[in-house]
Each structure stands twice: as structure tokens, then as C-alpha cells.
């Protein structure tokens, strides 16, 4: 009996074989237990739960067999650590190591009532998952599991059946726009890089997710980094790049570890490297770790950082598409943008374009945080209303409090008040009311939140994260912050408010990069919808929510 030697098989058959072997290996077990090993669940103790599960499974005999896997973010971070039982699709939440025995006792039977989190609830039913379609269903550290779930079929399809121009056309027709926040048409960007002159080209993935309260990209990088790699590799093929970099912020050590592991495994499978899956396409990928500066999420600062320079933006044009890394044409996209690509190549542009609104196609991942019952990670079709996100998916405001505002876009965004709850969540509608889609941070605030205090928080963030290169951002943000501090201390006058608005205008229109240009947004937006709160602080010497420690003459008398 002889077996065919591996090198006689075509590379794609080789991958198919790996996928089949993985599927067969999995079929040997009746039950598969996925323990979420995302950052939120890990910090809630999921590593202990996984260790206990592995020990218990090894120590008892389970009918049909049981395998334990790390991986499986379901997005319901509020219920972490979570455990998913497949193929029964049973979700358990807030698991302690001592709950493990009960879970294993009930495998295949009725779910354990006290731990069960039914998945037929709006939190799950109202979502539409494209970027996160396999999240919760694959092992975060095994490329075999990703392959067994249909991973890398899009890359093989692109390399074998499509020309680079066809790939770009597909992305263009899908209507995909940059998920980093600004919403630039992805296909247009790819075409510009593809057409740029030069033999050396780069692809860069922006994983410097820095907005307070935002953890969408982290989830993709932690939970199934293979998806990101596949998207980047397809992009590199489309624009003709030979080298790629994934820039990950240093504060995400787990992402760095998982992405590096994924790159190693992909290289072993010849999914990156020389002659990718037997074609003439060569592509290599490296991780670059940031050094803690928020401004390095700005593309030109990010490129400077990769080059080893101080992470400072430079004026555009020239855009990175024509002159990027070391002066070569460079495609730079966000993590979520790349993670959309395999689904578009697999299902076609028309399918993707059928989701969302006229101008904003597909879905958006949001990190839902703040005063909301179900905080966590959600993916919704563009055009969903804010009300549906907050009350159906998010489960409303806890403790019977009243909704006050939602903040999107972090320090570059704005707030959306109750009167705009029915707004369609898409690029244009959000911009129209002075907020932005942003990268996906969505902070829900209830009636106890002081909007001046919120504006001050974000301005402090911008002041501390300004790179210091241009004057309006470096000094303007500091002056605005001090004015806001004066207001929250009850020491400001109406002339200060006028000055505040003037400075916001100057910083917005004269700053060098997006950080400075957008820094006044939280102030401008709260002034637009909650001006009376500013006036209450200044004129009445009173913080309507009682958050700000006003030092008015009245307070001073009462204190003494």
C-alpha cells in the first residue's frame, strides 16, 4: 500500500486535505466546548475555566467524546467568561471553574438553567454578522480550524480565478468603505495604489485602535486573526504589494501574540510567503508594535512609526497611496475593512451591496459600552436605527434610568441626543448631526451624565495625545481643556464660552491632521444639543447632574 507523497498534490488540494482532516478529527467528538479567550473574558477568569474544563474532560468519560477549545467570542462581554457548546449552540455566561462539572453533566441534555444565556434573544437575533461570522466558532490559535470552517477559500478563489483588476472591481462594486471611521471608498483606494507607479508596494493594516471604549479590532485580532490575514493577502494581490505590515498597539499584547501565531501558521501552510498556494504571487507579512501614541492611528503618523521615526503626521498630499512607506505606494486600511474582504470575494459584490443603505453598505461592528444592559461587541447592518441598537440589542438603560445621549467616534466624534434616537446609523446621517461613524466605539450615557464633563474628558484625551507638531492642536486643545475646566469649576463667564467656540473653530480648521481637526467635535456637538447645560454651569453656577464640583460663592458659603 502506498500513499501519494504530499509534494505531488496541488497546494490547494493540500489545504483541502488539512481542512478535511480537521473536520474528521472534530467528528470524533460529539461535543465541542469553546471557551471565550478574548481579552474581556480572559480578564474575567476564562483561562481558569478552560483549565478546569480540560482537567475534568480528561478525568471523566463522556458519551461521544468532548473536546475543549480556546476561542469563541460571542460578543456578550457583560456575561463573561462565556462558554459555547457546539454543535448544540448552547451559550453559558459568567462561568466559574466550579460550574464546569454541572456543564459537563448536562452535555447534550437540557442546558443548565442558572448559567444558560438563550441565544434566541434580540441581542443575537437582531445582529447581522459578516466580519464576525466565524467568531465564536473557531479556535483562535489553530489555522486548521479556520480552514475547516471555509477559511482561505476566498484567497484561493482570488488567486486562481480572478485577476487583480477583477478583485478590485468586486470590492468597488460592493460599496465597501473604510471602517476606520472616515468611510473612504475601499475599492477606489485599492485602485489608486494598484495604478500608482513603482515596483515596490506595501500593504499596511491599521490595528492601532485607540478610541476610549472601542475594542472591535482587538476582538478580530484576538479571536480569529486568520480572517484578517486572509483579507490583507487578498488586498496585497489586488494592488501588487510584496510586503505587508500589521501595526498593532502595544496595549494589545494578546493581539500581538495571536496575530504573530497566525502569521507563523499561515507561512507554514504557504498562505503567505513565496509562491502563495502555488501561484507566482509572493507576499510576506510582519507585525509592528506601536509605542503607545494615539496619534499613530493617523495614517501618515503610523507610517512614520513603522519607518522608525517619531510618530508624527505629515501634511497630505502626497497620500500614502502614491507615496507611503519609504516613499513607495502604500495601501493602508483598518482591521475591520480587511476582515470584510474575504466575505465579499466569497459571496460577491451584489450580496454585500444588498445590505445596508444607499451610501453605506454592509455591516458595522460596534463596541457597545457605558450605561447599557448588554455591553459587548455587536455587528449590525448599516441603516439600523440607534433606538434598535440601544433598546433591542442593548437591552436598554439599566436601573430604570433615562437615556441621555450616545457618543460615537470617540474623541473625534459627537453625541446623539434622545431626539435623534431614530437616526439611521450610516456615514452620512451621523455626519449630518455632527457626529461620525468612527471606528465603532459607542458609549451610552444616561441622565446622570454631565455633558460638559464628557466634553472635558475627551478634550483632556486629545490634549494628552496631540503629537505637538502643529500649534493649533498642541496649544489649542490645552486652552480649550482649561476653559472647560473653568466651566466645570463654576468660574467661567459667557465671554469664556464665546472664546471656547472661537478656539474650537480655529483648531478644527487649521490643525495639520485628523486628530486636531476632529478634536473640537465632542465640544461642538455637546454645545449643539446641550447648550443649556453649559449655560447652567456658567450663569446659574449649577451642574444639572451634580457631577461637577462647582466652586461658586453659593457653594463656598454652604461649605463654610
Amino acid at each position: 500500500m502506498s500513499t501519494r507523497r504530499p509534494e505531488h498534490r496541488l497546494p490547494e488540494d493540500e489545504l483541502e486535505l488539512v481542512s478535511q482532516q480537521e473536520q474528521e478529527a472534530k467528528q470524533q467528538y460529539r461535543h465541542h466546548v469553546y471557551v471565550c479567550v478574548g481579552a474581556a473574558c480572559l480578564s474575567a477568569g476564562s483561562a481558569d475555566v478552560q483549565a478546569r474544563l480540560e482537567a475534568e474532560v480528561a478525568g471523566r468519560s463522556i458519551a461521544g467524546g468532548c473536546a475543549v477549545h480556546g476561542g469563541g467570542c460571542r460578543g456578550l462581554c457583560v456575561a463573561g467568561p462565556t462558554v459555547t457548546i457546539e454543535p448544540d449552540n448552547v451559550l453559558y455566561g459568567q462561568i466559574k471553574p466550579d460550574d464546569v462539572a454541572d456543564i459537563l453533566d448536562n452535555l447534550g441534555g437540557q442546558p443548565v438553567e442558572r448559567l444558560h444565556r438563550p441565544t434566541d434573544k434580540p441581542f443575537f437575533m437582531r445582529q447581522q454578522r459578516i466580519v464576525l461570522e466565524l467568531a465564536g466558532k473557531v479556535n483562535s490559535e489553530r489555522i486548521e480550524d479556520y480552514l475547516a470552517n471555509g477559511g482561505y477559500t476566498s484567497l484561493i478563489k482570488a488567486l486562481h480565478e480572478m485577476t487583480p483588476a477583477q478583485v478590485i472591481n468586486e470590492i468597488s462594486r460592493s460599496g465597501l468603505r473604510g471602517r476606520g471611521g472616515a468611510g473612504f471608498p475601499t475599492g477606489l483606494k485599492w485602485r489608486t495604489v494598484a495604478k500608482a507607479e513603482g515596483d515596490v508596494k506595501y500593504v499596511v493594516c491599521n490595528g492601532d485602535e485607540g478610541d476610549p471604549g472601542a475594542f472591535m479590532d482587538r476582538s478580530v485580532m484576538d479571536d480569529y486573526p486568520f480572517r484578517l490575514l486572509e483579507g490583507i493577502t487578498i488586498a496585497a494581490y489586488a494592488v501588487g504589494a510584496q510586503q505587508g505590515f500589521i501595526y498593532i498597539r502595544a496595549e494589545y499584547p494578546l493581539s500581538v501574540k495571536r496575530v504573530q501565531n497566525a502569521i507563523r501558521q499561515a507561512r507554514k501552510m504557504n498562505l503567505i510567503g513565496d509562491q502563495v498556494v502555488g501561484t507566482s504571487f509572493n507576499f510576506d507579512l510582519k507585525v509592528r508594535v506601536g509605542a503607545g501614541a494615539f496619534v499613530c492611528g493617523e495614517e501618515t503618523a503610523l507610517l512614520a512609526s513603522i519607518e522608525g521615526q517619531r510618530g508624527q503626521p505629515r501634511p497630505r498630499p502626497p497620500y500614502p497611496a502614491t507615496s507611503g512607506l519609504w516613499g513607495h505606494p502604500t495601501l493602508i486600511n483598518n482591521v475591520e475593512t480587511f476582515a470584510n474582504v474575504p466575505a465579499i470575494i466569497r459571496n460577491g459584490a451584489a450580496w454585500f451591496a444588498g445590505i445596508g443603505t444607499e451610501q453605506s453598505k454592509g455591516t458595522k461592528v460596534f463596541a457597545l459600552t457605558g450605561k447599557i444592559a448588554h455591553s459587548g461587541l455587536i455587528e449590525v447592518p448599516m441603516g439600523i436605527t440607534l433606538r434598535e441598537i440601544i433598546y433591542d440589542i442593548g437591552g436598554g438603560i439599566p436601573n430604570g434610568k433615562r437615556f441621555k445621549a450616545a457618543q460615537t467616534g470617540g474623541p473625534s466624534g459627537g453625541c446623539i441626543p434622545e431626539s435623534h434616537l431614530d437616526i439611521s446609523v450610516d456615514y452620512e446621517a451621523l455626519a449630518e448631526i455632527g457626529s461620525i461613524m468612527g471606528s465603532g466605539g459607542m458609549i451610552i450615557m444616561d441622565e446622570d451624565t454631565c455633558m460638559v464633563d464628557v466634553a472635558k474628558y475627551f478634550m483632556k484625551f486629545c490634549m494628552e495625545e496631540s503629537c505637538g507638531k502643529c500649534i493649533p492642536c498642541r496649544v489649542g486643545t490645552a486652552q480649550i481643556y482649561h476653559l472647560l475646566e473653568k466651566i466645570t469649576q463654576g468660574a467661567a463667564t459667557m465671554a469664556d464660552l464665546e472664546l471656547l467656540e472661537e478656539l474650537c473653530d480655529v483648531v478644527k480648521h487649521t490643525s495639520l491632521c485628523g486628530l486636531g481637526q476632529a478634536a473640537p467635535n465632542p465640544v461642538v456637538s455637546t454645545l449643539r444639543f446641550f447648550r443649556d447645560e453649559y449655560i447652567a454651569h456658567i450663569v446659574d453656577g449649577h451642574c444639572p447632574t451634580g457631577i461637577c464640583p462647582l466652586q461658586t460663592p453659593q457653594n463656598a458659603i454652604e461649605e463654610s
Binding site: 502643529c470 498642541r474 496649544v475 472664546l499 495639520l512
Partner: protein
């Protein structure tokens, strides 16, 4: 390929080489645009934002120092809005550091002072931030006074691009940014500094000065500046 384009600046018809910046084309035709970080001979960084101009059909303001001229471009350099922005930016600088002209060695020969005069700034509406900053007098011939630094980075660039020493750089970020020698050592202890004094000559304020000068006595050898362009050309940069 080099050609000639025609454009309008402040209503005036102007011819220029298509590789020139708006700033260069304006200066050649006697139209002044305020600048601070820009210095002929050094790389252009578009950081001070004082030379921002309006271009018809473009909703964004653009820095004249690094924006090339284009055929039929219509540029405005002195609108009321621009002048107001420039005044605020210069005010921001005055409020940021500790700029007390009456006790400054560069009084009467200071570009920040000149800007204030040109823009008609006679008082500050913004509160001074009065930061606690240090003076580095460790070098035997020069002084670095951080109180008077406007972070234009001319010193950083001249040291790197012309002298080739790269003694100066910027540390920290935002309002905490500061010029440092080497890896943040006292200037006098710097191993890379050649003592060429180019940084002192290009400093627009009283931040980098010769030792032993009293109030208003610091004078820079401005004739030194045109040679920068020549030196850089010879360097092939």
C-alpha cells in the same frame, strides 16, 4: 519636466514654475505670507499653520509652504478669516511659553515679536499657561531657554539636514513636547554636538542664544541663512 503656470494670488496675475510652492510664488511677486517653521534650505513640514491660504474650490485651508502652484489656481492669502486665524495661532504661542520681551536677549530681533506686530496683536485674550520650564546653560558657548521655545524645530532640522549631527530632537508629546539634545542629556554633555552654532543662527526667538548677551543684545548672523540652501544643494538633498 518643468513648465510655467499662471495663477491668481489676491487678484494679481502671477507666473510661476510649476515646481514652486504657493509661498515662493507669492514672495517672488512681493506678496507677504507669514511663516514661522519654514526656512529656505530646510525641509518643509507645514507645522506652524501660519501660511495657511484659501484656494477657490477647496473647502480646506492649505499650507502655502508645501502646496505646489497649479495652472489657473485662485489663491487668497489675506482674507479676514485667515488673518483672524493667524492672530489666534500667534496668541496661542505667546500663551504657551513664557515670552517676556522686556527681559529677553532677542528683544527687537525676534520673529515671534515681528509676527505679533505684523498681525496687530497688542494684548492676549488667552490666559498664559505659565509652564515651569528649564534653562540649559551647560554648553560653554550657548544657552537653550525652553521658556522661549516655540517648537518650530528649525534647530532639529538644520542640525540633522545640514550639519548632519542630529543632536536635537523632540521628546514627549502635545503641550509637554520639548527639544532635547541626544537622548535627553544636558547640551554641554552632548557627544554629537559639534558646536557649529547653526541651530543658534536659525532660532526665530530667544530660545537658542549666545552666552554673555544682555537684554536685546542677541543678534543673529542672518547672512548665514542663504548658504543653507546652497549647502543642501551640494548635499544633493
Amino acid at each position: 519636466m518643468s513648465g510655467v503656470v499662471t495663477l491668481k494670488i489676491n487678484g494679481q496675475d502671477i507666473g510661476a514654475h510649476d515646481e514652486e510652492s504657493i509661498l515662493q510664488a507669492a514672495l517672488d511677486n512681493g506678496i507677504e505670507i507669514p511663516t514661522l517653521c519654514d526656512l529656505p534650505g530646510l525641509s518643509r513640514i507645514g507645522a506652524c499653520r501660519l501660511c495657511l491660504v484659501e484656494i477657490a474650490g477647496n473647502s480646506n485651508l492649505v499650507p502655502a509652504c508645501i502646496t505646489p502652484v497649479q495652472e489657473d489656481m485662485v489663491v487668497t492669502t489675506d482674507s479676514e478669516r485667515l488673518q483672524a486665524y493667524r492672530r489666534t495661532i500667534v496668541e496661542l504661542l505667546f500663551a504657551e511659553g513664557n515670552h517676556v520681551c522686556s527681559v529677553c536677549v532677542s528683544n527687537g530681533a525676534c520673529e515671534l515679536q515681528d509676527l505679533a506686530e505684523t498681525l496687530g496683536i497688542d494684548h492676549l485674550r488667552l490666559p498664559g499657561l505659565h509652564p515651569a520650564r528649564e534653562v540649559d546653560a551647560s554648553h560653554e558657548r550657548f544657552i537653550l531657554d525652553h521658556n522661549r521655545c516655540v517648537l518650530c524645530t528649525r534647530c532639529v532640522r538644520v542640525c540633522d539636514e545640514v550639519e548632519g549631527a542630529h543632536t536635537w530632537d523632540v521628546t514627549a508629546r502635545g503641550i509637554e513636547s520639548q527639544i532635547i539634545a541626544d537622548l535627553n542629556v544636558a547640551w554641554g554633555d552632548s557627544e554629537s554636538c559639534t558646536g557649529c552654532n547653526k541651530c543658534v543662527q536659525v532660532c526665530p526667538t530667544g530660545a537658542l542664544v549666545d552666552k554673555g548677551r544682555s537684554v536685546g543684545e542677541m543678534r543673529r548672523r542672518r547672512e548665514f541663512l542663504p548658504y543653507l540652501t546652497m549647502m543642501r544643494k551640494e548635499n544633493g538633498k
